[in-house]
């Protein structure tokens, strides 16, 4: 039981860090990755609580799909700030 408690402790810390990072990170791509991190930690909780079906759904949809969807939405809205800016004639990079 001790190792399960240890995993839960690590995952609680990881999920809380990820949730805080998703709120406070200025870079929206990094914030999307942080939400995916939260989902990954929650899916580990589901495995420990013996709900592997829900864990699989959470890992596939929460960690994989919704992170990608958030990142793509940020890109479409022109909010995806990339450090290396090649062209300044794009309409998107003037915002934010």
């Amino acid at each position: 039981m001790a190792w399960t408690d240890l995993i839960v402790l690590i995952m609680v810390v990881l999920v809380l860090i990820g949730a805080g990072a998703a709120l406070f990170l200025k870079n929206l791509l990094a914030a999307a990755v942080a939400t995916a991190l939260v989902s990954l930690g929650v899916s580990v909780f589901f495995v420990i609580l013996r709900a592997p079906d829900v864990a699989l759904t959470e890992a596939a949809v929460g960690a994989g799909l919704s992170g990608l969807l958030l990142a793509l939405a940020a890109k479409r809205l022109g909010l995806w700030r990339i450090e290396i800016q090649q062209d300044s004639e794009d309409a998107g990079d003037s915002s934010c």
């Binding site: 079906d53 864990a55 799909l65 990608l68 793509l72």
Partner: protein, 232 residues
């Protein structure tokens, strides 16, 4: 001013919800009788080793059809809003491919994701997983090569055909059950031997239909999100 009252209302409602949750029922001792009955019955009557699949496809198959139709409506709405991809073919072909690591990783991961996705779908009645989870993995498998090489897109009409055929198979299976057994979406073909691949009657077929439909829908949705962000 109004938002402050709204926040107050939300906090009060949330506190009430937590209060009810933690006082009305002791933690870890559920009073659900239906759950225990399903656990006792499902393996014998449905023949699925994974009880969750027995519940999702046999006991509440109409709910699953409702979930599928909600997903269909959402994907159709996204396609309606983002679907103006006719005039931007030149922009789509002009986009550069991704970096070397992304391209090599996509080549490496595509067959693996395909195998994992179909494994999760086909073994949905035996092991944890099923059509929805495996469908999401399949959608990821088909989106990854497009992210690596944006010029090689997958045709949306082929995806729509796969989606429509899979949805049709699901409904036709349900209607066949209605004709044979007088109940919509009852598992047919007997239960088979518990734990083997060809068991649980029509549940594997239904989950294959669900997986292909979910995969095609989500892949279509994500592909529409990736393309034509340079235009308009």
């Amino acid at each position: 001013m109004l938002t402050r009252y709204g926040a107050l209302l939300f906090a009060a409602g949330f506190a009430f919800l937590l209060f009810v949750l933690f006082t009305s029922q002791p933690l870890g001792a559920p009073t659900m009788l239906a759950g225990q009955a399903v656990l006792n019955e499902a393996a014998g009557t449905v023949g699925a080793a994974n009880i969750v699949t027995a519940v999702v496809l046999a006991y509440r198959g109409i709910d699953t059809l409702g979930e599928l139709s909600i997903l269909f409506a959402a994907a159709t709405a996204v396609g309606l809003v983002l679907g103006r991809s006719h005039g931007t073919d030149a922009a789509a072909t002009a986009r550069e491919p991704g970096g070397f690591i992304l391209r090599a990783g996509a080549d490496l991961l595509f067959p693996l994701l395909l195998v994992v996705g179909f494994y999760i779908i086909v073994h949905g009645h035996l092991t944890p997983g099923g059509g929805f989870q495996g469908g999401v993995v399949l959608a990821a498998a088909f989106v990854l090569p497009v992210l690596a090489r944006p010029s090689e897109t997958i045709s949306h009409s082929a995806m729509a055909w796969v989606e429509g055929l899979a949805g049709g198979v699901f409904i036709v299976t349900g209607l066949l059950a209605l004709a044979v057994d007088r109940a919509f979406l009852t598992p047919l073909l007997g239960t088979g031997q518990l734990g083997t691949l060809l068991s649980a009657g029509t549940l594997p077929l239904l989950y294959l239909a669900v997986g292909l439909k979910v995969g095609a829908e989500l892949a279509n949705l994500l592909l529409r999100m990736t393309e034509e962000e340079s235009g308009t």
